[in-house]
């Protein structure tokens, strides 16, 4: 059972790191998604700041969850985020069906649809498994292990950022006039 819980923690942490890293490669398109969920007229810079904040938060929680497994409060936080994913998918399905969700930036072209709600529910289910109690004392990592995990997480975030940027090169803003 403990191994299952740890696998669930790892999957969720990686998912958050990839999602955060990929979104950060193209904040403008994720900002468009954020705008769908804010009914008020809000200035684009503020929407952009919210989008970047959400991406950074995902990345930070993923990094913390991976490198500090003994902190059980993080499991609850990840579960809350997974529940938020379900809520966003459901609202997106109800109000913006067929629009791109940009959950993984340019890495995925998933849209708000029934399958998306199901995927979010599965994610929340995995997060619920990760909530199961594992002795904090048994999960104390030494500095070397923590540094290794931090390096792996950073590599993962960088890979997601680069892959999303490479796949979304055509969505750059209009280029500046070049002159010799």
């Amino acid at each position: 059972m403990d191994v299952l819980v740890l696998c669930a923690k790892t999957i969720l942490a990686s998912l958050l790191i990839v999602a955060g890293g990929a979104k950060l490669s193209d904040p403008a398109s994720f900002t468009s998604t954020v705008r769908l969920f804010i009914p008020l007229r809000v200035a684009w810079p503020l929407l952009s700041a919210i989008a970047i904040g959400v991406s950074l938060a995902e990345l930070a929680v993923g990094l913390a969850s991976l490198t500090l497994p003994a902190i059980t409060a993080l499991n609850a936080l990840v579960f809350a985020i997974a529940c938020a994913f379900v809520a966003v998918s459901a609202v997106g399905y109800a109000l913006h069906r067929g629009r791109s969700c940009r959950c993984f930036g340019a890495l995925s072209h998933r849209k708000f649809d029934a399958a998306g709600v199901l995927r979010s529910a599965v994610t929340a289910g995995i997060a619920a498994v990760a909530l199961a109690h594992v002795g904090a004392a048994a999960l104390q990592l030494d500095t070397t292990a923590r540094v290794l995990l931090l390096a792996a997480a950073a590599l993962l975030a960088l890979a997601a950022f680069t892959a999303a940027r490479a796949r979304g090169t055509g969505r750059e803003p209009e280029p500046k006039v070049e002159a010799q």
Binding site: T10, A13, A138, L139, L148, L149, E178
Partner: protein, 195 residues
């Protein structure tokens, strides 16, 4: 302690597997024939505007003053594509068409190579990787026709003479209203329209 070690091993393996998967997916999506078909800009899209000076000091602009401009994304390696050279010779007689060669970076050999293959008179302009990216061009030789209104009329990778002439025919067709994108923001085309 055993549990902590297991967690570290599982997490490291999972992270590395995910990195490899991301690398694989990106490699496949960017290197396939379908990916190359998506290169360039779709007809009707606004083309990037620029003003560059060739080696003789002549200023060349895009959009052009003539009705049509053929931007050839290539360099001295064009001499390895004799069929494309034939195609360019065939279309360069047309007065309404301005042909320019846009290199990715400074290339001293390009002008002499063009002269050698009988394409002298075509201005060679030094572009930049960012300008190539703006046109969404990765593979050369690539041809993009731009009209005087600054809209892309045809765009494709070219390897044969018939592709150059066919692109010119396509560029001559009036743009369809639904393909006319508003000016202001560069977007990638969603479907390949290669010749």
């Amino acid at each position: 302690m055993l549990l902590a070690s297991s967690f570290v091993v599982v997490a490291l393996v999972f992270c590395m597997a995910t990195v490899l998967a991301l690398f694989g997916v990106t490699h496949v999506s960017m290197s396939g024939a379908e990916a190359i078909e998506r290169d360039g800009l779709a007809p009707g899209m606004p083309a990037p505007g620029w003003s560059l000076v060739d080696s003789t000091g002549k200023v060349v602009r895009s959009p052009p003053r003539t009705s049509l401009q053929l931007i050839m994304f290539t360099d001295h390696s064009l001499k390895s594509f004799p069929s494309v050279v034939d195609g360019l010779r065939e279309v360069m007689a047309q007065e309404r068409l301005e042909i320019v060669v846009l290199t990715r970076r400074r290339n001293e050999l390009a002008e002499s190579a063009l002269r050698l293959i009988g394409l002298d008179g075509i201005p060679v302009l030094t572009g930049s990787p960012s300008l190539y990216a703006a046109y969404n061009v990765r593979v050369t030789p690539f041809a993009i026709f731009v009209d005087s209104a600054g809209r892309v009329r045809a765009s494709s990778l070219v390897n044969h003479a018939w592709q150059v002439t066919k692109l010119l025919q396509l560029a001559d067709l009036p743009p369809e209203p639904e393909t006319l994108a508003p000016r202001g923001r560069f977007r990638r085309r969603t479907a390949g329209a290669g010749v």
